[in-house]
């Protein structure tokens, strides 16, 4: 019966990444809007139901239970934090046979999750980002760093990857210190980091990242600041003298330059910030989910995973962001398609990971500016 489909979204609307979540969710919402404007899905409407996973495995399990067993969604976009995704998937996803496409769970742990080929992600693993960041720093001639990471799977995984790659490349990690989230004060941790003037902060911007950066600036002990994707957010620079963080280096999953990205960036509008952290990945995840459902031909969960692989990877006619009606026509015609998204070509490997692209950003005049690919 052609009556549309419902997909779910799990994200940390509350908790440590509560300020990062809304723009990510907006990416998924945009897909829904475009799909419905361009004729809908399976002859009906595409619906999106969100649930709060609080960046917490246990809460996410309950959220997934609701989406999967109460709202009967076909697939899930999410969750964001890696523990959240694992909790949500093991809680109800596995038994329900539900496909998860996470836009933001970047910790390496997801690669090895036993998932019956149901869990995918549109962001590269931190293992990659860590390596890229290390390369970038070494290329810039920074030979020693002090690292502080937020004590969770994201921060820890990232820091480990960074340290390994950086030392292998000949750099010195003078200190590697974890910190707890959401504290008022990090001067003590910073005191343990002064062994190098180049401070790497792997944390969430609105949680500990902002505080650490500000206190680091105030201490005057550091000259260069470096951050990971979690740090890229408007919250990062509030209350910090812009001049003192000029030149802050950051990385995040990004998009290759190209037609797909240009089209996607064109969506930037009043209610939507196209280049917000993980917004492109969320857009891609939702778009892929919709394509897979259309391809699968019904709102059932069966066969969705296989359909997803088909629409995501070559061979096939290229589909770019926003080209929903074109895609539907092709699918109806039985033509193979291959989505190329805002965040890259998105060909899933056996573990459901994508080969990512990491871009460099820097702060100029109080704003993040993209500097292009890191290779």
């Amino acid at each position: 019966q052609d009556t549309g489909a419902t997909i779910g979204f799990i994200g940390g609307f509350t908790g440590p990444i509560e300020s990062l979540t809304p723009p990510i969710f907006a990416g998924a919402e945009l897909v829904v809007k475009q799909v419905n404007e361009q004729g809908g899905i399976l002859g009906g409407e595409l619906n999106l139901i969100s649930a709060d996973g609080a960046c917490d495995a246990t809460a996410a399990a309950a959220a997934a239970d609701k989406l999967i067993n109460t709202d009967n969604v076909t697939g899930i976009v999410g969750a964001l934090c890696t523990g959240e995704t694992i909790g949500a998937f093991n809680g109800s996803g596995l038994s329900g046979g539900v496909v998860f496409i996470s836009p933001a769970s970047s910790a390496p742990a997801l690669t090895t999750l036993e998932d019956n080929d149901l869990v995918y992600r549109t962001t590269p693993s931190d293992a990659l980002q860590g390596v890229k960041l290390a390369n970038l720093l070494l290329a810039k001639g920074i030979t020693d760093i002090a690292v502080t990471y937020v004590n969770n799977d994201y921060g820890k995984g990232f820091a480990e990857a960074l340290e390994a790659a950086y030392t292998a490349g000949g750099g010195t990690v003078a200190a590697n210190v974890s910190h707890e989230d959401s504290k008022a004060d990090y001067r003590a941790e910073l005191g343990n980091l002064v062994a190098s003037q180049n401070l790497v902060i792997l944390a969430y911007a609105n949680s500990s990242g902002n505080t650490i950066l500000r206190q680091a600036v105030e201490s005057g002990n550091f000259t260069t600041y470096i951050g990971g994707d979690g740090m890229v957010g408007d919250d990062l620079l509030t209350g910090i003298d812009a001049a003192s963080v000029d030149g802050l280096i950051a990385t995040r999953a990004g998009a290759p330059s190209g037609e797909a990205v240009d089209i996607y960036n064109g969506f930037d509008s009043d209610g939507f910030t196209a280049n917000a952290t993980y917004a492109p990945q969320a857009y891609d995840a939702a778009f892929l989910m919709a394509l897979a459902i259309e391809k699968n031909g019904s709102a059932s969960r069966e066969g969705l995973s296989a359909a997803l692989r088909e629409v995501a990877s070559a061979p096939g006619e290229k589909i770019l962001p926003g080209e929903w009606s074109k895609a539907v026509e092709l699918i109806k015609a039985g033509t193979d398609i291959d989505y190329e998204g805002a965040g890259g070509v998105l060909d899933f490997d056996a573990a459901g990971d994508v080969d990512g692209i990491i871009v460099e950003l820097t702060v100029e005049g109080g704003k993040f500016v993209e500097k292009g690919l890191i290779d």
């Binding site: 003078a174 210190v177 504290k183 005191g191 609105n206 505080t211 105030e218």
Partner: protein, 334 residues
């Protein structure tokens, strides 16, 4: 010398600032506990709301084009304190007074205050979202870097303007509170009520008035604490909630109901946190020159790893309580 200045920055100044943050919050908690005999968990939300009031007022001032030499957030403090006092009164009237009237036990009031915490937190997020704000969006934060090269140090002593203000404000507010409680008629009535509420009533003391004054003072103190904290850090909906447990620890270590105890407890915990994770290698590094190769100092030589920082505060807390079961300054108990 550089090492010594580093130690001052890292342990003395940062311990003092952290201690003052805890102490400012703990003063209000200790006051409410002394008089109303319950652990007012929602004090954190009074602090956060107070900071938001100050933030709004500061924004208003800025939009009127008023420029002040010290941070606007600090200038508008009296107004914000009045607003927070009103809020505190309202909360008491709406939630605690009915319970007290029915003779509820302290733990019931404690749980009610947890309920209030959740509600206020929900409301703050409703109006301000989850993001963070800064008082220094329109003005810059002054950072004092005291050059210490005359001492042969390459590092300056660093303090920011809000930190200096905070230390001053903490000292003044504790002194003022102490004078108020020991000198003024109302203050004495508050102490009388803390000592023996039934007898206070029998003496004709208007206990309802005393309770009101308590909330006014507590609200004002909370606003001050929250604003000072927000000036030093950033303003977020969970600003004070995140540190309410160490604040309680400070109040308890100091002895509940004791104004000076709050300072003592706050500083003790502040210094303990700073000192426990302090990396001694930074200070002892010159020794590396004289030490043999096999005894070179490791990169980090701290009493405990940083991830156990908070743990240290609590170990101290437990130890202090074991030695002095009612805190440093003999405190009250419900």
């Amino acid at each position: 010398m550089t090492e010594f200045i580093f130690f001052l920055n890292q342990v003395v100044i940062s311990g003092a600032v952290l201690g003052c943050i805890y102490a400012l919050g703990a003063v209000g908690i200790t006051l409410i506990f002394g008089i109303l005999r319950f652990a007012h968990f929602a004090h954190s939300e009074l602090m956060t709301s107070g900071a938001f009031f100050a933030f709004l007022l500061a924004g208003l001032f800025a939009s009127w084009g008023i420029v002040t030499p010290i941070p606007t957030g600090f200038v508008v403090l009296p107004l914000a304190m009045a607003l927070t006092a009103l809020l505190a009164l309202g909360i008491d009237k709406g939630f605690y007074a009915p319970l007290r009237k029915r003779g509820a036990k302290p733990v019931i009031l404690l749980i009610a205050s947890i309920g209030v915490t959740l509600m206020v937190q929900g409301l703050i997020r409703l109006f301000f979202g989850a993001g963070s704000y800064s008082f220094f969006e329109n003005e810059s934060k002054e950072i004092f870097r005291i050059d210490t090269s005359f001492l042969g140090s390459t590092r300056p002593l660093v303090m920011t303007e809000p930190q200096v203000l905070m230390i001053v404000v903490t000292i003044i507010s504790v002194l003022a509170l102490h004078l108020f409680l020991t000198r003024s008629r109302l203050g004495k009535a508050m102490r009388a009520m803390a000592d023996n509420a039934d007898l206070a009533q029998v003496s004709g003391i208007n206990t309802a008035l005393v309770v009101r004054v308590t909330w006014i003072v507590a609200g004002a103190l909370a606003c001050m604490a929250g604003t000072m904290l927000a000036l030093d850090v950033t303003l977020k909906p969970d600003l004070a909630f995140n540190i309410i447990i160490p604040i309680f620890a400070a109040a308890i270590v100091g002895g509940l109901g004791q104004a000076y105890g709050a300072i003592a407890g706050g500083l003790l915990i502040g210094f303990a946190e700073s000192l426990a994770v302090f990396n001694w290698t930074m200070v002892l590094r010159p020794l590396n020159g004289v030490l043999p190769d096999w005894l070179q100092l490791p990169n980090t030589l701290a009493l405990v790893p940083t991830e156990y920082k908070l743990t240290v505060a609590f170990v101290i807390l437990v130890v202090v309580l074991l030695v002095r079961p009612t805190g440093i300054f003999k405190g009250a108990s419900s």
